[in-house]
Symmetry: D2
């Protein structure tokens, strides 16, 4: 019907690294994601509104033809977007995925995947991210998936 009112669109993100408080917060939360460790994913970049996650190829991540399974591709993309959103939140907030949509553009074959989450719009309640996943082999970096994600800011549960 309409379009939301509580934020501003962000097309371009600053390229510098995030500050130490934000980095620590993202890495601490990422460290609690059992799935990311189980898949062998690690964060390779934390900038304001943008996070990169690297996922090395392993037979444990494949679908029936040996490509990265869409579920592995999506898991890395979903976490990249979620942490991209988190970089712009106050320290007392946590983030949950509301929904996402992803197109698989090409067979995901390579030495590793690089998933990039980028905040397009950061609102008081909702954040919208673009998700891009690349398959990398030596000097070759090829887009294999692209998506769009909606996230909600919630109060961090007491720990």
């Amino acid at each position: 019907m309409g379009g939301q009112a509580d934020g501003q669109a962000r097309e371009e993100q600053e390229e510098q690294e995030a500050g130490p408080e934000v980095r620590a917060r993202v890495l601490e939360s990422f460290g609690r994601q059992g799935l990311m460790a189980h898949l062998g994913a690690r964060i390779t970049r934390i900038a304001p509104g943008s996070v990169h996650i690297l996922l090395p190829h392993r037979p444990e991540l494949t679908q029936q033809n040996g490509y990265f399974h869409a579920g592995a591709t999506s898991a890395a993309a979903d976490s990249a977007g979620g942490y991209a959103a988190l970089t712009l939140f106050p320290a007392t907030s946590d983030v949950l995925t509301v929904e996402y949509k992803i197109n698989l553009l090409a067979p995901a074959l390579g030495d590793h995947l690089e998933a990039v989450g980028t905040v397009l719009r950061s609102g008081r309640t909702l954040t919208v991210c673009r998700l891009d996943v690349f398959a990398v082999r030596a000097a070759d970096r090829k887009p294999v998936a692209t998506g769009q994600q909606t996230l909600i800011r919630v109060e961090a549960p007491p720990r």
Copy 2:
């Protein structure tokens, strides 16, 4: 499960205008879209893999608060993506929308909307487009919606 195999990803589109044959084909098809005329939409740019559609504000296009209705925003975006795909097809092909997803980023208020469809991947069977919609008022051009669309190439029906 996997990711398709029949095409190549395209991140960047050439910026030149399309040739006369492609332009004629797009405009002829657009002219047959009763809905576009009914909404008052017109094509303002046809480049290889990218089409812009302009939709002037009218009370006939609004939702309950006077913003452009998401349906009007989406209709312009859907046609922009469809014709962006068509610019890369042979002359005997037509295009149908398989699906799309759109996020409404901000209230769509302005003198007109500008919907931009951009081909991300052009395959033998399927094309994936990014959809961006901006609300324009004087010098102000603000993103109000962003989406992702899958299209299928079909043989043009005999006319």
Copy 3:
């Protein structure tokens, strides 16, 4: 990353008509949607968590092959979902579409379309709807589109 916490899932909606207060509120808001009148749409059913919108065929609603344009199909579906959400809100609330995704299942040909919005989950902040669109000709009622929509509850602006 996670999944939201502020609501409950609803698979089945009650089948009775909504009460007079809710009906009046939905019809008043629908009457302000310039686009719905411009397309010739009307509401044919208002039940708690479910709204039906009927869209008679007109050349003004078509794409290049004479089918209903995906934009017309989507506009009816988007409004059906939005008003389905509104039926479950308090009287002081309004609804905005956050995003939706729609698959076009078959050519939308018929005497009219029937768009059905059904609330799947009604939360404090966010509502998720299923969208179903049927093309109807005499006794034949055929699914032509299906979608999923996220909506946000906002305070109704002063009128």
Copy 4:
């Protein structure tokens, strides 16, 4: 713009189990999905146009709050939809995911997840599935995610 022409919509799926040839084909392909074994997923039902996948809770599948990670939820849902599509294909065909969209409806907490893929439309080229994921604890079975998926039929690669 339009809606595809090469299939028929299926709202209701037959409830019987699939025949032995189809079951063998699905299980053989599932057995080659390294990710499914790595996550601990197994197929619990194969019917024509419908497949169920069970995913027991493990700390290796969680996000930062201990819920099932959206990536794990999605991986099970994506495979359930893919194999639901495969049950309706000839033996020489394989299936790839074109795209999917998923809404996380509630925190995914439970002893296991049950992901159900159901074919809504089976066309010559494209299949559309509904994806439903439930969190199960003892007698409690709660919807935690719902999605929509587009798949493409391809010739099975030689093995």
